[in-house]
């Protein structure tokens, strides 16, 4: 029993943290977010480091590592609030790897792994996928619905960019047409891993929002004392830690299951995404409350985290949907 990363995994985490911190300081994030665009140079840089293909089989040009390594990157990407088309592309890779035919994998996975021909995943409800990250720059779009799943070339899809509250990432809505090839394999395994990837991002976001709250509570003085000395504030911060650590434990466990115990992955992934969706939002809102008025201003950086957390909560299944699955799946394992 060992609930910790290996030395190699710790090294990945350190590298990612350092690189992202140096490329994306607060000013740079704000500049990109306000322009609603990505940093293509940083994308090229992380692609050269092999990040997009970290979990992709070596046969398709990936690094052949696992879900655990992926979520290590995701957590740091969340913590840095990196404006990169990483999550969408990873989700597509995960779903294709799990559910694609040999031909589909050969066709699309190398581009996903190299980061040069990216993919994305949209969940179709009532004939439409309403919140698809990076669909405007993807080469391949996987549309997953109750009726079935298709692999659609971007050129053949009706992609309509939408502005969301999260300007650190680009989103679109897509009308599900009749085109595309069917995606026939087991997409649950892929979608579960994608859900774990967002849960990891939410964990990183929550961690960052908590760190900001704690720092502010130490510095900000009212009634001649740091506000963090008041229990109304300090207990709020303790609650942030409880929820952030909970999201982290659930995410790490699900990622491990994805690599080592695939039969427990679907339940573990639903638990992680349900909990992290709520925790990400709650920790960010709580952090805003600790910041008081300044936290409500556009000039403060907290709102970028808060907004990404809200959108992440809706990606690849909402908390309610995942809880419903938890009820179903845990009844069957008994």
């Amino acid at each position: 029993m060992n609930f910790d990363f290996s030395d190699d995994q710790h090294a990945i985490k350190r590298t990612a943290k350092e690189l992202l911190a140096s490329r994306f300081d607060a000013g740079r994030i704000r500049e990109l977010a306000e322009a609603a665009r990505y940093d293509d140079d940083v994308w090229t840089e992380v692609a050269q480091l092999g990040w997009p293909g970290i979990f992709v089989d070596e046969a398709y040009g990936g690094q052949g590592l696992g879900t655990v390594e992926l979520i290590i990157l995701m957590e740091e990407l969340g913590h840095a609030l990196a404006p990169l088309p990483f999550l969408s592309n990873a989700a597509a890779g995960l779903v294709l790897a799990a559910a694609g035919s040999d031909g589909q994998r050969e066709r699309w996975l190398p581009g996903i792994a190299s980061g040069e021909a990216r993919g994305t995943v949209g969940l179709v409800r009532d004939g439409e996928a309403r919140l698809v990250p990076d669909a405007d720059s993807a080469e391949v779009i996987l549309l997953l619905g109750h009726e079935g799943a298709t692999v659609v070339e971007a050129a053949a899809a009706e992609v309509e960019p939408v502005a969301t509250m999260d300007t650190t990432r680009r989103y679109a809505r897509i009308r599900a047409g009749t085109g595309g090839e069917p995606l026939e394999g087991d997409r649950i395994a892929g979608l579960s891993r994608a859900a774990v990837a967002v849960a990891a991002e939410l964990t990183g976001i929550a961690q960052r929002a908590m760190e900001m709250a704690v720092e502010y509570a130490r510095d900000r003085k009212q009634f001649d004392r740091p506000i963090g000395a008041y229990q109304a504030v300090s207990h709020r911060c303790a609650q942030m830690l409880l929820e952030t650590e909970g999201a982290r434990s659930a995410t790490y466990y699900a990622a491990w299951a994805g690599d080592a115990e695939p039969e427990t992955l679907p339940l573990a992934a639903c638990m992680a995404k349900a909990y992290a969706s709520d925790a990400g939002w709650r920790v960010c809102t709580s952090s805003l409350q600790v910041h008081g008025g300044i936290g409500f201003t556009w000039e403060h950086d907290l709102h970028f985290l808060l907004k990404r957390a809200k959108v992440d909560a809706l990606l690849y299944g909402t908390a309610s949907e995942h809880r419903d699955n938890v009820a179903e799946l845990s009844a069957s394992v008994g």
């Binding site: 029993m1 609930f3 704690v214 004392r225 963090g228 300090s234 659930a250």
Partner: protein, 378 residues
């Protein structure tokens, strides 16, 4: 990261599981005395099999178990619904304190009867005026003719009516700052000067007691850790919550959850959209308690100290257990409030979870100050 058991951990668990299947003492009988005797016999069985004082070093009659083994032990005991040993406070708190701070003579005298359950120990810390602020306690111990005379009142004393000894913290010097004037005593309960009065809780049961001392006598040889060092010794006791506590608490919650799910299924509540969401949420929280506990354990093993998540299980357990019982009573509807129903009892009993062994507010203070580094109010 490997969240499976190693071959030796698995072997240990399987051996224990098999032993529990062969030796399980059966359901606890009704009646306070009968139930206690049942637990006393159970402790003797554990002792004979070498499972009592499992975490104690081998030289003091324990097994020197690793943290993982302790956690597995707690999980398996919970899973088998085995009763707690009669002398749980002696095993978890008294023994470790004597081992850490006691003299050779004290170890020789006290440790074995703690293990066998022949002598039951209780704990005299809290007082009516000193709950979370334990160091403000007022019970006095005065030296007189080579012994100590203890006068004062203690409260929330579990098993006081069964106990041979009480781990008692009393003020021996009122003229120094409050943390420095305390001394840790082992007080013989079998004397006229110690009176035990049952304290009825909101469940109607007298699980705890009040303790009244009027010049109760404690020999010099029963001071543990030296006069004036009581606070440090008491803290050891409080810190000596078993490392596997979170894991066993999670296993206990898991059993409660399974009962709740069976109940919900039987009543069709798992098809009610609202209750179904709540059931799923508490299922997640029970699992998180388990995962946080194991993560905390890995931290301790790797770094020697608990990581931030190590401070969370007690707080989390209280919330999860309260949520479980509330949900069960909601599933039961009108029958959930019938007096004598097991869930009614558990609903009420669970309200103490966020108070006993450190209130949730104190735990949040600890997290805020020591984990997050926020300033202290005082």
């Amino acid at each position: 990261m490997d969240l499976t058991l190693s071959p030796s951990e698995r072997e240990f668990r399987d051996e224990l599981r098999a032993w529990l299947e062969r030796n399980h003492p059966g359901a606890e009988p009704a009646g306070e005395d009968a139930a206690f005797d049942h637990r006393r016999r159970w402790q003797r069985q554990l002792y004979d099999a070498g499972y009592a004082g499992f975490s104690w070093p081998a030289e003091y009659g324990g097994r020197g178990a690793t943290l993982v083994e302790q956690a597995l032990f707690g999980e398996e005991m919970a899973r088998a619904r085995a009763p707690a040993p009669a002398n749980v406070l002696g095993l978890v708190m008294g023994g470790p304190v004597v081992i850490t701070h006691g003299t050779d003579e004290q170890k020789e005298r006290w440790l074995k009867p703690i293990l066998t359950g022949d002598e039951i120990w209780c704990q005299g810390f809290s007082e009516p005026e000193s709950g979370s602020d334990l160091a403000s306690l007022k019970t006095r111990a005065v030296r007189s003719n080579g012994e100590w005379l203890v006068t004062g009142q203690k409260v929330w004393t579990t098993f006081a009516q069964k106990a041979k000894y009480c781990m008692l913290v009393a003020r021996t010097d009122p003229d120094v700052p409050k943390h420095q004037g305390l001394t840790y005593f082992i007080m013989d309960m079998e004397q006229e000067a110690v009176q035990v009065r049952p304290l009825h809780q909101i469940t109607g049961e007298p699980e705890f007691n009040e303790l009244f001392m009027e010049e109760a006598r404690v020999p010099d040889g029963n001071v543990v850790g030296g006069v004036g060092n009581g606070w440090g010794v008491a803290i050891t006791t409080l810190m000596n919550e078993r490392a596997g506590l979170g894991a066993s608490a999670a296993a206990t919650c898991r059993i409660t959850l399974d009962e709740l799910r069976a109940l919900a299924h039987e009543r069709g509540a798992d098809q009610d959209p609202v209750l179904r969401q709540r059931l799923a949420q508490v299922t997640i929280e029970v699992e998180l308690l388990r995962l946080n506990s194991w993560r905390g354990l890995t931290q301790i093993m790797k770094k020697g100290v608990p990581g931030p998540e190590g401070s969370l299980p007690k707080w989390q357990w209280a919330e999860v257990n309260q949520t479980l019982t509330e949900l069960a009573v909601d599933v039961l509807g009108e029958e959930g409030v019938y007096w004598g129903s097991p869930w009614t009892y558990r609903l009420l009993r669970s309200r103490a979870n966020s108070i006993e062994g450190g209130t949730t507010e104190i735990l949040k203070n600890i997290v805020a100050e020591r984990v997050l580094g926020l300033p202290r109010l005082r």
